[in-house]
Symmetry: C2
Subunit: 583 residues, 2 copies
Amino acid sequence: MAGMTTATAPTQSQQPQSHPLVDRHAGVLQEATAALAGRSYFSRYPESPSPRVYGAGAAEQGQAAYEALLDKAFGALGEVATDGGWVGEEVSPYGPALGVTYPHLEVDRAIEVAQAALPRWRDAGARTRAAVCVEIIDAINTRSFEIGHSVMHTTGQPFVMAFQAAGPHAQDRALEAVAAGLAEQERIPASVVWEKPGRDKQGNPAPIRLQKDYRVVPRGVALVIGCNTFPTWNGYPGLFASLVTGNPVIVKPHPRAILPLAISVAVGREVLAGAGFSPDLLQLAPEAEGEGLAKVLAQRDEVRIIDYTGGPGFGTWLEQTAAGAGKQVYTEKAGVNTVVVDSTDNLRGVLGNLAFSLALYSGQMCTTPQNIYVPREGIRTDEGMLSFQEFGAKLAAAVGKLTGDDARAVELLGATVNDGVRANAEGLAALAREAGGEVVLDSRAVVHPTFPEAVVRAPGLVSLDVSREDVYTQECFGPVSFLIGTAGTEQSLAQFRDTVREHGAMTAAVYSTDEQVLDDAREAAADAGVALSENLTGAVFVNQTAAFSDLHGTGANPAANAAYVDTAFVANRFRVVTSRRHV
Amino acid sequence: MAGMTTATAPTQSQQPQSHPLVDRHAGVLQEATAALAGRSYFSRYPESPSPRVYGAGAAEQGQAAYEALLDKAFGALGEVATDGGWVGEEVSPYGPALGVTYPHLEVDRAIEVAQAALPRWRDAGARTRAAVCVEIIDAINTRSFEIGHSVMHTTGQPFVMAFQAAGPHAQDRALEAVAAGLAEQERIPASVVWEKPGRDKQGNPAPIRLQKDYRVVPRGVALVIGCNTFPTWNGYPGLFASLVTGNPVIVKPHPRAILPLAISVAVGREVLAGAGFSPDLLQLAPEAEGEGLAKVLAQRDEVRIIDYTGGPGFGTWLEQTAAGAGKQVYTEKAGVNTVVVDSTDNLRGVLGNLAFSLALYSGQMCTTPQNIYVPREGIRTDEGMLSFQEFGAKLAAAVGKLTGDDARAVELLGATVNDGVRANAEGLAALAREAGGEVVLDSRAVVHPTFPEAVVRAPGLVSLDVSREDVYTQECFGPVSFLIGTAGTEQSLAQFRDTVREHGAMTAAVYSTDEQVLDDAREAAADAGVALSENLTGAVFVNQTAAFSDLHGTGANPAANAAYVDTAFVANRFRVVTSRRHV
């Protein structure tokens, strides 16, 4: 009996008239959905900025497009629900002010137009929405150089990283969210005939037959609150997860990283309008520094979904207040990313890999390792036994070698994004003194050959004792990591487990040649609820995750309450309303 | 490239050694999963209490088993984390005190033993957990008569309804939760080899290969807070959803409906122990009336998931406080279930169906219609135009006919569960006066032929004007419904939409012969976020939903923040922790 009526049941996506984009993007949606189900390698958007991939002149045109935006009012959003004000005070971490201003929204009207745009988008069906989303992401991809420059000059990322992380990698994460949202909506059939066997009073078969129609309805207005360091990479998943499930989205960028999301929203509005939908399904809500617009929007009853990346203060307030008010809240905050070093048969690989992880974007990634546990008695390596001090010295040397040449270093380090990071970078000696530890490597000030105003800092290392939890269980954002001396790997793993459970982490890594230690590390990671990278010594780094395969975050520790992208990230952004009748 | 490695990827359920129950229940899990995916008819547990189905003597043995439990300490839970106290003051709505006492838990120890039981259950894998859950539900099914009597004498349900709703129907909902939880966990492969194409410096293919293991980890201790009227039907979905996803469960029954859950938990503990797991994966936390144990448990940090059915006061507190503290909270509270009457070509069918829906269990279902909107100018029927008053009189007559004979009526009405319901049933005249309306049908006091102490009340009807929102937008639990006179169906639908959006509803129904009205009703239902039954005139009732096909609740209006059983009900009860390494 089971499944009897399902073979011919229409899916959520079978609409009377198919949208022209549905056919165009059927292939990629099928590939993306399969990749996500299998967690296998998949990428739609090439990460190489090479002219062989993106076309001759693409780089130059993108840079020119970026430069053409500077010192102007940003007009590409079209007609928006503005209150007539213009805001925008972005200053590049590399020095120059961007001079771009954006139309400030009138909140009441913005919510009104979002709600007005909802019914048509809802009724278009899941597959049309997914196809329109792919069209938006494809269009965003063609702007990757422009977005790369805008990210470089709002976040301080070095250009190639900005291009990759804020361009194709973010676009792949966006597509992942679309695929996950589509798959989830299509798991509910649009209509079934339900037949319950039964008999009439004469004993003849008299089944009860009901037609049941299942309708996907969105939650309401969705809010995306962007962060300073990864405006698109951390912004797109929530944006596209909400949009594909039928919710109009208001994007509130960080006041110092508006432009990358402004370009993205402008592209999205244009595609939406071109596809026959209201551009107000996607709105940009820029704010002046200190305006507190995120809180205003988050408190609106009409806002039913909130995606947030940023500091733990506001994130915790959102989790408590907005989640407590019945809104769906997805947060990524902060944590203490951890590395446990036990032993290795490839010391050079360990040092190179770790040094790169620490140096990339001056440690300003939510995934950069902070706490590196090393036994005080030292570790076994292919170059012999290394004491705690020797390991620290070798890691310091590896970082020094990687970042020793200013011109090459800045292409890896980028620029520091704000004064907090700069203060952390400058405070190593004081920190070490306070912690009863030592500065193993000071954070070197690097002079940027092109942007002399940029404050560029190479990673620094402070060694301290495992007893100083008061120091190392706080996030020290930027180019500062701790070498923590433990009584042995058993204690390292115990501290890893306990500190991550309590304070959160986005990433963890272990280095060991001992299968038992690796097993114990997996247990500790499962208990702590954090993903584990084991013995990375090559071109994969603990701070990087791949869309469609790696979950970013787990939602199982305090650093983030959600993961990119699992079912839980999309399944509650819509609801299903049934209507049933006899047939 | 996509999906390349997935064909041979092991699933979450492939364990080194398969549990013997896995094979035994593979068939039913496959059927249940297929039915749930297709939302087609499926039932594992026969709803007929006939001896031809459950065996000769089963009814008598079940009743004897129930009676053997009375006036005793409940010993079937085995060794539990008790503080030595015994609680239990259940009194049957039919009169007699049950006289059963239950071991009171010591909260600290209960949480401790739950946590101690977790790792082995987590590591058993999804399919083993699902199979053990099916074994529990199958074992519960063999106790359906005993549970039926225990539900009759704690909730006041008439026996056949108690047998069906608390027995096989609840068991089907339990199995549904197991199937949904299993499917969701198995969507994540246990392990994949991820291969990213690449080239070495010489330009030769040099793919990056990582093995990635995905491990399902539960949230922590789960709490199920039972209600007085449907202890098992509303208790099982959360219980089994949490259990199948790896979480130990503490069941805190309503102090007046402990026994049905005590039997269920005792069965579960026995099956768990027999399957080689700790019985403490399932614990019963009975409390004395007024003890406030639910709040104590809900506030424990170790409790990560809460399922609640009950009044809106505590439900809202849970949503705000526990959800705000990062716990997963699934609630079903209260609402104003609505019927819109526009027209019919089967008046007799409408009246019969509605009368039954109002009478069943004296309207003490969370799904019983309360607000019946009828145009003041009357409705078109196959028996001619009926005025508002005439429709009311005919509905009253239908209820009167259905419940006119005491002996037959009690088999439908059951007994009133508490003084609140009794007060509502007695207060119709005052209510009508206050509302400027009329008592169309008073709630008749019925004398139970077997249980003279039982307070049995037939449905009552009060007519009032649509302007009296102050009266009809509050839940008036029990045998009281409102006939609300409107300016026409357009206003009926508008009120339906607005009142349900604001005050919630578990169910809604419409009667109309006009396709446009039905369409408008579907739109209103989608906006209000409530499931709609259209033109039910036969043996399907608005207050009943079928497991595997109908969602119970939508999570889209204030009556409930979740639905039985969709993906969102299960997907966030576990998390996935990845470990990855080069291969």
